[in-house]
């Protein structure tokens, strides 16, 4: 009698398992965006204290479930800001500071965020991938 090699006997489970695993874990690589002078940890706290969550869904921020503005899950992957501006750090900082100056009709108000805080917030939003 010929003996079967163990690797052949194991192969059905191995191939199936490997296939399912590989298919489940196959996301795009999202490059990391840095914001000059921004600190993501401080940013998260600022997002909380400015109440951005009243209008946005924001992962990692307690109670941030608002649906007045678009959800910010995976914001780092968004191509545009507010459908009109390329999603780049300097434009995002300006957006957070004064949205109506960039899109006059927008329903997002100027919340009086300082330059330094806007940089922190931007750094946090780019962590959302």
């Amino acid at each position: 009698m010929r003996r079967r090699a163990p690797c052949i006997r194991a192969s059905p489970a191995v191939i199936l398992g490997a296939t399912l695993y590989l298919i489940a874990c196959n996301g795009e690589h999202v490059p990391h965006v840095t914001v000059a002078g921004g600190n993501a940890d401080r940013g998260r706290l600022a997002v909380e204290s400015y109440g951005c969550g009243a209008c946005h869904v924001i992962p990692g921020v307690p109670g941030a479930r608002g649906l007045t503005g678009p959800p910010l899950n995976s914001f780092a992957r968004h191509v545009y800001i507010a459908g009109e501006l390329p999603n780049e750090p300097e434009l995002l900082v300006r957006w957070i500071r004064d949205p109506p100056s960039l899109a006059p009709q927008t329903a997002m108000p100027n919340l009086g965020v300082s330059e330094a805080t806007a940089r922190d917030i931007a750094a946090y939003l780019y962590e959302l991938r």
Binding site: S11, N26, T68, G69, P71, G83, A103, M108
Partner: protein, 270 residues
Amino acid sequence: MAAGAGLLVLLAGAAGLLVMYSGVYDISAIEQHTAPVYRALEIGMRNAVRRRAAGIETPPLDDEALVRRGLRCFHDNCVQCHGGPGIAPADIAKGLQPVPSSLAQTARDWRPAELYWVTRNGIKMAGMPAWAYRMSERDLWATVAFLERLPHLGVREYRELLDTVAEEACMQPEGEHEADPRRGLAALRQYACHGCHRIPGIRGPDVYVGPPLERFAERAYIAGVLPNTRENLVRWITKPQSVSPLTLMPDLGVTEAHAHDMAAYLESLR
């Protein structure tokens, strides 16, 4: 015995998936499919069309006005890919694989109901678009009526017939109907909305060019400027640039009826 066969099929399937996953299969449109893959795809396509067209009743197609109408649709919508008598396909079509072949051959070989079915529904993974959302039912059949004539036309006859045909563009589907979310889901795909948006219920690319549309029913605003009502949503979908002149969402030529269907679907997303 049966279990063994089942296991074999399962293994073959898994192995096939692994080959796809590993990236070894060459998807370049310059390289041909291997012969077995090519044959399998062609036979599968042909049989799928036969089966689905089997129950379709063909209206009379020999009316001369219908044939001329069909020529307009063919010349405007099909020639760019399939070519015509004495006319080469456009550059965008020459590099397609599978190649959009000359419809003079297809019209000889296929039944009218089969031509109708493919024109209406398109072919997945082949670059053959569905025309149901861009042509009325009458114009779909008119196109088939013309295809029946096509193999009988030389270059001169084609040109002469074309000279007698009105310029009036091929019609979009007319449609007064109650907004229907299921039709809306199909319409969203047929206008390529999922090329820029992630939309629940649609399997599509992982894109964030426009905002993901999940839970859209609960959103307060459309595009950050319009209150989220049915009327505003239809306006946004049909004429986004009339709302925000600099928006990156283009006007996709959505008919009013299709926009109502889409809105009904988006309003069901909670």
